[in-house]
């Protein structure tokens, strides 16, 4: 176990997560629902889940959310990103560890996207003091399949490539 290499990998993943999330802001989302987005940051989360511990995964997501909130959308959206990001990371980690024989990374990513959007809408409902979850549920589920498949496929390819090259081995 090489702790230094591990720390380096974590830092690289955090930087990548931030960059990729900022990059995503340029891509327009056709669906006007609060909180719904492509979720490219999810790719990094999944890579972290495959190669690192839960604690490291959560740190990566946490720091990504904070930095992105400060740099782009302002601190008001932080509760949304944190709720969505951390909860979906936790669920995806559980699924990957316990259920990876039934779910591929694509399936796990879809469930992660659903969790992410649901959590965001729950926080939105609390802030708005009005239930908006049910109203958005159908479109939210469909967009979760699409975004989940996209990020899931990219993650799968990346994970396979990393495994093939052995980049993260020996941590």
């Amino acid at each position: 176990m090489n702790k230094k290499k591990r720390d380096a990998v974590i830092i690289i993943l955090i930087c990548n997560a931030i960059l990729i999330s900022l990059l995503e802001l340029i891509i327009p989302v056709p669906i006007p629902i609060p909180g719904v987005k492509l979720g490219l940051g999810n790719i990094i989360t999944i890579i972290a889940i495959v190669f690192l511990d839960l604690k490291d995964v959560l740190i990566i997501v946490f720091l990504r959310c904070i930095v992105v909130a400060v740099l782009s959308k302002g601190i008001t959206v932080l509760p949304f990103s944190l709720a969505g990001g951390l909860l979906s990371a936790l669920i995806m980690w559980l699924l990957y560890k316990k259920m990876s024989r039934v779910f591929s990374i694509k399936g796990i990513s879809i469930i992660g996207a659903i969790t992410h959007n649901m959590a965001q809408l729950t926080v939105a409902s609390l802030i708005l003091r009005e239930t908006v979850i049910l109203y958005y549920l159908p479109i939210l589920l469909i967009s979760a399949i699409i975004t989940g498949l996209i990020t899931g496929s990219i993650s799968e390819l990346t994970v396979r490539e990393i495994e093939k090259r052995g980049n993260f081995s020996g941590m």
Partner: protein, 352 residues
């Protein structure tokens, strides 16, 4: 790749949980349909909405009962109990339906709360003289009213429970249950619902609302309070209630305008004139619909004395709307009252 039975088993629970999660949010739309009914009785529209297995039976039972009592109590119905009582005024006891005896007793109890200054069922001779709500309302001469006011005294309604009979002490005295019948029937409807195992329902007796339990989804019933100067259905606020009666008395319900003056159907038993107390409406929220109906006649007392009466009664919350479009709400109701005035004409006076 091959998938063993074990994998399927592993898959089962997460999917089950996922679908439960989704459906628990989705289910609310698929509520069981209520039985809704609309009847004409008591000179008004009766709406019911009843949920549950016996809903149809319960609402039919209520409708039948209302028609029955309507016949007994309508003042102009020949052979009805109230007609009999009035015709025999000053001539001793007449035997009446036990239900009539019961409402007369309730009327006495409520009148006692205000000493008859707000609510008094013997106001009927005055109601008849004014004729408000009939085809030819009129402003009676002052000396006529003076004479009629002397006939108004709820203590002259004598009730003998042992023989199920009642009498009016003086000739010319008359009883009108208009100010309490809808309230009483509201309580009765709730009893019938309960007897049929219903846990969620409402009945709207021409604006006198009674609700049983919560809505089937567990939330409180939202009762809109009529804007006294708006169109029908235009509201100034909403109260959220469960197991309560919501009764409104207002000057807009029945009235006529003569020489630019508005005369409403609620007669002040003390003066003989239609109430003119600076209020447009009083809404009472209480567990007993009979008592709420009676208490809503605090309308004739005006804001200060009316509020005092509600406070003295102690078992009700109230909404008072004054002529200058201010809305006053008792402290206990402020959490459940939501001020919603689309016209922007009303002011909600919260600190009182």
């Amino acid at each position: 790749m091959e998938y063993g039975e074990q994998d399927m088993k592993k898959l089962f629970y997460p999917l089950l949980i996922l679908s439960l999660l989704v459906f628990s949010t989705g289910c609310n739309i698929g509520q069981s349909k209520p039985v809704q009914s609309e009847d004409f009785a008591l000179g008004t529209i009766i709406n019911q909405e009843v949920y549950g297995a016996n809903a149809k039976k319960a609402s039919d039972e209520v409708a039948v009962k209302i028609k029955e009592l309507d016949e007994l109590w309508t003042i102009n119905n020949q052979g009805g109990d109230i007609n009999k009582l009035n015709n025999n005024a000053g001539q001793g006891y007449v035997e009446l339906n036990p239900e009539t005896i019961s409402i007369l007793k309730d009327a006495r109890k409520i009148a006692d709360l205000s000493g008859g200054v707000a609510f008094d069922i013997t106001v009927a001779p005055l109601v008849k003289a004014w004729g408000i709500g009939t085809d030819n309302p009129q402003v009676p001469a002052e000396d006529v009213l003076k004479k009629l006011v002397t006939l108004v005294n709820y203590q002259d309604v004598l009730v003998d429970e042992a023989t199920n009979s009642a009498s009016l002490l003086k000739t010319g005295q008359m009883v009108d249950l208009g100010g309490i019948a809808k309230g009483y029937i509201g309580d009765m409807a709730i009893e019938i619902y309960k007897k049929n195992g219903i846990t969620s329902a409402f009945a709207n007796l021409g604006g006198n609302v009674v609700v049983l339990g919560n809505k089937p989804d567990g939330s409180a019933w939202k009762v809109g309070i009529q804007n006294p100067r708006g169109q029908n259905g235009e509201i100034v606020g909403v109260v959220s209630v469960a197991d309560k009666a919501v009764v409104t008395s207002g000057d807009y319900q029945r009235y006529f305008i003569k020489d630019g003056k508005r005369y409403c159907h609620i007669i002040n038993p003390q003066t003989g004139y239609p109430a003119d107390s600076g209020l447009m409406s009083v809404t009472i929220i209480a567990s007993s619909s009979t008592e709420a109906d009676g208490m809503s006649k605090a309308f004739v007392l005006g804001l200060e004395k009316g509020m005092e009466l509600v406070k003295r009664y102690g078992k009700a919350e109230a909404i008072f709307i004054t002529n200058d479009k201010k809305i006053y709400v008792t402290p206990g109701l402020q959490g459940e009252f939501q001020f919603e005035d689309a016209t922007n004409e009303y002011t909600y006076i919260q600190n009182r």
